[in-house]
Structure formats: structure tokens, C-alpha cells
């Protein structure tokens, strides 16, 4: 892989937040800026989360193995945008009214789902360093399966908060289903393949 590709992708991932900052600077966030920021950061958190989940299937299908090098970056960007989203909720939307925030999290299913998704992403972000990967070994992979749950919770969070127009959350849901479905298919097919091979091997020879 050429040396410039990774830094370029890194910069491209900063485009949404730069755009948001530019719009904020120009007072161009519409009549309800807090709502705009909340929706914007939330959407991008989901987009990056789904992008990080797309790496493995794409790698398998295209055979372009170097894609794996972007997985961590995309995952960390998902966490970055989710952190902005959560901070907006805490600092701008509720202005650090912890009592109300706690009530919201406990009482409102869509907030519960979003909060759960964010909480699950924290250990993943913290254990994303090379040292932690080495240290955790096999357990790292087990831990990082949490990302599937985080993505499901994130899409549910979006689906539960819309009033009537479910088309966008459904679109995210379809993408997520495809990405997780692919993994299941791969797992099943390898499971059946193993069984078939075993059968063939153990079949009495004539």
C-alpha cells in the first residue's frame, strides 16, 4: 500500500466534523442548531460504525487484504463521532443537568439504546492499541465482538426516536443486516464445509 493512502483516509474522515465546525462558525446550523449537531454527529457515528463493519466482508469479497489496515481507524472514528454526539446530548441539549440526563437514560428506551451503544464502544476504543491487542490475545477478539451489539443498539436507537418517517433508520438497518448476515453465512458455510469434509474423511472406504 502506498504511504499516502492511510493519511488520506484519516483526513477524509475529518471532513464531516470540519464541515460541521464551518457551518457553526458561519451560524449556518439552521433554526435549531443543537438539534442539527445532535443529528449530524449521530448519523456519522452510525456511518463510521457500519463502515468499520464493512471492512471484513469487503476484504473477503475483493481479496484486497490491506483494507484491514483501515478497520481500527474507522472504528475509532465511529467512537469519535459517537463521543461528539453524546457530549452534545449532555452538554448542549441538557446543559449538564445530570438528574435529567439520568432520568432520560433510564426512562426513554431510545436514549437507553443509544447510551448502551456508546458504553459498549468505550472498552473497544480503549483496547484498540497494539499493546492491548497483544496483551489480550484471544480475549481481544471476543471483547471486540461487542461491536455487533453496539451497532444493533445504535440502529435501534435511531429507529426508536423517529416520529413517523422510518426510511432512514430502516436503510441503516438493511445495511447492518447485510453486514451481519454475511458473517453468519460465512460461519455456517465453513461449519457445513467442515462437516462435509469430516463426513468424507470418516466415511468407510470401499
Amino acid at each position: 500500500m502506498s504511504n499516502w493512502l492511510k493519511p488520506s483516509v484519516f483526513l477524509v474522515c475529518l471532513v464531516p466534523v470540519s464541515q460541521l465546525a464551518y457551518r457553526a462558525y458561519n451560524a449556518d446550523l439552521g433554526a435549531n442548531p443543537i438539534d442539527t449537531i445532535t443529528r449530524f454527529t449521530g448519523s456519522w457515528a452510525l456511518i463510521f460504525l457500519l463502515s468499520s463493519l464493512a471492512v471484513t466482508p469487503l476484504r473477503r469479497i475483493t481479496g484486497w487484504n490491506e483494507l484491514i489496515k483501515f478497520r481500527r481507524m474507522l472504528g475509532l472514528y465511529a467512537f469519535f463521532y459517537a463521543l461528539l454526539h453524546f457530549s452534545t446530548f449532555v452538554g448542549l441539549d441538557h446543559f449538564f443537568d445530570l438528574n435529567r440526563i439520568a432520568k432520560d437514560i433510564l426512562k426513554r428506551p431510545y436514549v437507553t439504546a443509544g447510551f448502551t451503544a456508546f458504553m459498549m464502544m468505550i472498552p473497544l476504543a480503549l483496547t484498540s492499541t497494539a499493546r492491548m491487542i497483544r496483551r489480550l490475545g484471544k480475549r481481544w477478539q471476543q471483547l471486540h465482538r461487542l461491536v455487533y451489539l453496539a451497532a444493533v443498539a445504535g440502529v435501534i436507537h435511531f429507529y426508536w426516536l423517529v416520529k413517523a418517517d422510518i426510511s432512514r433508520p430502516v436503510q441503516y438497518g438493511i445495511v447492518l443486516t447485510l453486514l451481519l448476515g454475511y458473517r453468519l453465512l460465512v460461519k455456517w458455510s465453513s461449519f457445513f464445509a467442515t462437516r462435509l469434509t469430516l463426513k468424507a474423511l470418516t466415511a468407510p472406504s470401499r
Binding site: 435549531n32 443543537i34 413517523a164
Partner: protein
């Protein structure tokens, strides 16, 4: 002796000048006015079908009862016309402004039918002259927990109701919005189906409809209603959540039984027929205790009946508002 009453100052004249100049794209509208004036002199009717009349100044506005006007800061024309829930023109807040061009409002008729002695079909220009136009500065509280202050122009709905003489069987009025995917592009079904069923319908109990706060609005900020705000004629019921104030009305049906209402059909456990603003009855998915006023940072406390309790609480005496939400 003729005593001339001084003309009251309209809120539109108190609005900061920069705001005004800013929002009007001054040159564009000035030339449009000049063109219209020239055409009028030449006897040409510019209001051909397909023309949008938004922005045209409304004349001879009188002040509504001062007790009904809020003294809170009026939101800017830009905020009021760029942050809209009008699903027929798109589900995002900015969509209605973008798609406003499709919603032509001439010709336009409103049919009044059902339990009335004098059913009739009114032309929009007739509606605009049905009763003296008043300016009313109302709070609008959206069910999504935000609010905005709007200087409406219109007249009490009661003026129209009195003209058609409801029968004794008329207990409710159902209102119907235009259903025309050509003029309301988001009414075309997408592959994910429609957000709501069309046409949009809403309803009021007769005493609510007759209440002097209830308006038929044809304008705001002293001008003809922009399409995204429900042109050419809409309902304004300031003590109820915004979705009750149905837009772009083509029909009023006087009925005996409580009529269907769009959001109520879609999610009856979330949106009741009454839908009075009530900080103590939460939306099942979010709190209604506070709201964000457009243009403000901190949330403010939501008031019972959106602050119009003094005028309307008596309508609901003895009713359990937790049950009839």
C-alpha cells in the same frame, strides 16, 4: 364628528430593520412589487394559476385582542419559514422551504359540508375577505419539544362557522388537507411507504373550534402565508401541539362523531385526539416537561395548555387529561 382611531403599531414594524431587510431579499421583492403594480395599472392579472403569492403584503390588518398576544420575543421570519414540519413537502425541517415552489395556491377552494344548514364552496380570495384580518402573536409548541413565537394573520374560525350555520348534530369539525402529489411531492409513496396516510386530516370539538383563540390563518409577519407554513389557509390552535394546526386546508366537514386525525390514526397511544399541550403527560418516548424555544440555548419549562390555560382550561373541566391526552 369623525374621530380617527390611531392605527396600532404592528409587531412587524417593531422587528429590527436588519432582520427585515435581510429576509426579504429586498431587491427581488421590490422589483416584483413594481412589476405587480405595473401590471395592475395595465389591467393585467398576474395571479395566473401556478403563481406563488407568498410575500405579498396584507393590507388593513387590525390588532387582535391584546390579551391573546404574547409579549415574548417573536422569532425571525427566517426561523419561522425554514424550520417546518410539513410532511407533504418532505420530512426534514428544511424540506418544506425547498419544496415550497411546487405548492401552488391559486386556484384554491375550500369546501364546507356535513352538518351545516348552508354548505358551500369558498374561493380562497373569498376566504381572505370573509372577516377582517387580525394579527395574533402566538406561541406554537411542537410535540417534538421545541417552540416558536409567530405573528399570524387571520381571523377567528368562528366567523366562518357562523356563516355556514351548523345544525344541532354538528359536534365536531374534521379538516382535510390537499391531496395532490404534484403539488405536494412527498405524498408520492416511496419504497419505504408513506410517513403518514394522505390526505392529512385533523379535528376539533365544536367548542374548541368556536373558541376565540382558534384562528384560520392566511398570513404571517404581515404577508401572505408562505407555502411551507401551510398556504393558502391553515388552522392555528395555540394551546394544542402543532400538528393539530392543520395546513393547506381544502375541506371542513361538520360531523356528529369524533373524526379521524392523522397522527392519532398512526400512533394512537402516542398522539391523542385532544393533544393539548401538557407538561405532565409525556409522549411515551420523550418528556414533554420542557421545550427548546427556537433561538434560545437553555430549555424552558413547558406550560399547561402552552400558557393559554386562563382562556381554555374551562373547555376541559371535569375531563381526565391523562386519559384524554
Amino acid at each position: 364628528m369623525l374621530i380617527k382611531k390611531p392605527v396600532d403599531i404592528k409587531s412587524s414594524e417593531i422587528t429590527p430593520k436588519e432582520l427585515y431587510l435581510n429576509r426579504r431579499q429586498f431587491i427581488a421583492s421590490a422589483s416584483a412589487v413594481a412589476l405587480a403594480a405595473g401590471a395592475a395599472l395595465a389591467g393585467i392579472d398576474l395571479s395566473a394559476p401556478g403563481e406563488s403569492l407568498a410575500g405579498e403584503k396584507l393590507k388593513n390588518l387590525k390588532k387582535g385582542p391584546p390579551a391573546y398576544d404574547t409579549s415574548e420575543k417573536i422569532n425571525s421570519f427566517k426561523d419561522i419559514t425554514s424550520y417546518n414540519n410539513f410532511y407533504e413537502l418532505g420530512v426534514d425541517k428544511g424540506d418544506p422551504e425547498q419544496n415550497a415552489k411546487y405548492l401552488t395556491t391559486r386556484p384554491w377552494t375550500v369546501t364546507v359540508e356535513g352538518e351545516v344548514k348552508k354548505p358551500k364552496t369558498l374561493d380562497i380570495d373569498g376566504i381572505m375577505k370573509l372577516s377582517p384580518l387580525e394579527e395574533r402573536i402566538y406561541r406554537l409548541r411542537c410535540v417534538e419539544a421545541w417552540s416558536i413565537v409567530i405573528p399570524w394573520v387571520g381571523f377567528p374560525l368562528s366567523a366562518l362557522i357562523n356563516q355556514v350555520e351548523p345544525t344541532n348534530n354538528a359536534k365536531f369539525i374534521q379538516f382535510v388537507t390537499l391531496h395532490d402529489p404534484k403539488r405536494m411531492p412527498a405524498q408520492k409513496p416511496s419504497i419505504f411507504g408513506s410517513a403518514l396516510e394522505w390526505p392529512y386530516v385533523e379535528g376539533l370539538r365544536m367548542d374548541e373550534a368556536m373558541h376565540p383563540l382558534t384562528l384560520l390563518s392566511v398570513g404571517l409577519y404581515g404577508e401572505v402565508l408562505p407555502a411551507q407554513n401551510g398556504a393558502p389557509v391553515r388552522l392555528v390552535v395555540p394551546w394544542k401541539y402543532g400538528f393539530k394546526s392543520i395546513k393547506s386546508i381544502v375541506k371542513l366537514r361538520f360531523v356528529e362523531k369524533q373524526p379521524a386525525a392523522s397522527w392519532n390514526i398512526m400512533q394512537p397511544q402516542e398522539y391523542g385526539f385532544y393533544s393539548n399541550v401538557n407538561p405532565e403527560v409525556d409522549h411515551p418516548r420523550w418528556s414533554q416537561a420542557t421545550e427548546r424555544r427556537i433561538g434560545e440555548f437553555l430549555r424552558r419549562k413547558t406550560l399547561m395548555f402552552n400558557g393559554y390555560g386562563e382562556q381554555v382550561a374551562s373547555l376541559y373541566k371535569g375531563m381526565d387529561l391523562k386519559k384524554y391526552y
